[in-house]
């Protein structure tokens, strides 16, 4: 493993893995405590529409995916803010339509079609320097938001109706959480792919939640746990020559099972 580090793509992979994991830990915590896991799944799959569009128009893939994911986040935020009961039907719809748009755009794109498996299951070994920049800026942005607006985000997440009474702009923070989720999902697609991204956003968070007494500790602990899982997963993937995204998820799931057994916690 150590000698592999001399390759630039391997350095990029490790760096990207750590950046993405920390971002997923923080944002995953917000997604879990706000019960937005299904919403995040919807955004992840909708971003495939953006990938398709970018391929068709010849734009940078992650630019297209970001635009699509953020648009989906704003749409979902608007739909879910008021009525949260029957919204699962609409999210399911957005989820499937987003993917369908992606497939159609790639169908009608002329010439060679990109390796779509890479977007579905991740391609961490293909991380470019620009991707690293984008990931770093996003992580810094997330740090800034959750530290500076911690009390507002906490209030909105814990009891949005009360936060509203205390003059906090619930709509703004709810939308902000979903937009940050969308951007985090887009960078996480590079590492584990859009199908596996939900596991990355939830497994470390679940463990951290049981060990934390406050949301702040939970966010940073999830970040650390996610980073550990990613590094272990990458080592596993390198050693046994397996897909990196799937390896990260399997390693996470194994540690999750160990955690449950060792602490004798009920799953729910």
């Amino acid at each position: 493993m150590i000698d592999a580090l001399q390759y630039e793509f391997m350095q990029h992979a490790l760096l990207a893995g750590m950046l993405v994991s920390f971002a997923s830990g923080i944002i995953g915590s917000l997604i879990v405590v706000n019960r937005m896991v299904f919403l995040a799944g919807g955004i992840a799959h909708t971003s495939y529409g953006g990938i398709g569009l970018a391929v068709y128009l010849g734009l940078p893939i992650f630019f297209g995916a970001s635009i699509f994911a953020v648009a989906a986040a704003i749409l979902i935020a608007t739909l879910t803010l008021k009525k949260r009961q029957r919204i699962d039907t609409l999210i399911g719809l957005i989820w499937a339509v987003g993917m369908a748009i992606g497939v159609i755009f790639i169908d009608i794109s002329p010439g060679y079609n990109v390796d779509l498996m890479g977007y579905l299951f991740g391609s961490i070994l293909a991380v470019s320097t620009e991707d690293i920049y984008f990931m770093s800026i996003l992580l810094l942005g997330i740090f800034f938001v959750v530290i500076f607006w911690y009390r507002d985000i906490l209030a909105v997440s814990y009891d949005s109706q009360y936060a509203n009474l205390r003059g906090i702009n619930v709509r703004f923070f709810y939308t902000l959480i979903l937009i940050l989720s969308a951007l985090t999902i887009v960078i996480a697609i590079k590492v584990v792919g859009l199908i596996l991204v939900i596991a990355m956003l939830t497994i470390p968070v679940y463990i951290a939640e049981k060990l934390s007494s406050s949301l702040f500790i939970m966010m940073f602990l999830s970040g650390l746990i996610a980073t550990f899982f990613t590094l272990m997963g990458l080592w596993f993937s390198y050693t046994y020559n397996l897909s990196s995204g799937a390896s990260i998820i399997i390693v996470s799931a194994l540690f999750f099972a160990l955690f449950l057994i060792s602490t004798k916690k009920d799953i729910l």
Partner: protein, 261 residues
Amino acid sequence: MKVIDIKDLYFRYEKQSVLENINLQIEEKDFLAIIGPNGGGKSTLLKLILAIHPLQKGEIYVLGKSPSKSLGQMGYVPQNTNINIDFPIKVIEVVMMGHTRKERPLLGYGKDEILCAMGALTQVGMSDFAQNKIASLSGGQRQRVMIARALCANPKILILDEPTSSIDINGQKEIYKLLKQLNTYITIIVVSHDISVILEYANKAAHINKNLSYHDISDKHSTFHTHGNDEHFCEIELLQMLGSENCNTCEGENPKWKLKP
């Protein structure tokens, strides 16, 4: 000055009229119990007072101003405090959410907010639990924390929506004792299904079932007669009296309120 002044208030959800011709004046340091059948409009009235719902027809003045301008003076304890029990949050963080301060520190919480929250927790007898996770508390303790959160704003009016619906009998008594203490300097409005509130603690009662009937029950022992020496009170009589103007409309909606001759 009236603490809350409601004039000719009407409210409807789409096609269904919920409140009609509501007139209500609440005096300073009143302990008003709002009772009535499910779906009778109790919570809707609270939400109008708290500016959660917009006014449709009629007027509401809270401390002489519109409800949205007086939000800082109102403490609110919502109906269901069992939401998000597993949320990783400390008791003191929940209480500090109630603090209403215009300017806020750049990061985290100000010293005055922490002091204020600890003061509110002391008032409800929960200061020892400040650093505990909210999940580790019992239903009654959690309810006290929610009252502390409302008190953290130093409110002139405390509004509670069925504060004892999820706690055992001893816990309920404790909560009402606490409210009675707070009532020496705060106006209290409580929605409740619990008859003992009206009998032991409230001095005013309002029965809402679309319309409102208002009763001053501060001298309830002379107003109502009790059975026997143990001051046992007949629930049915009270309901008959309080809801007499609306009895025909509450029939069948909720068995608890159904009156038998």
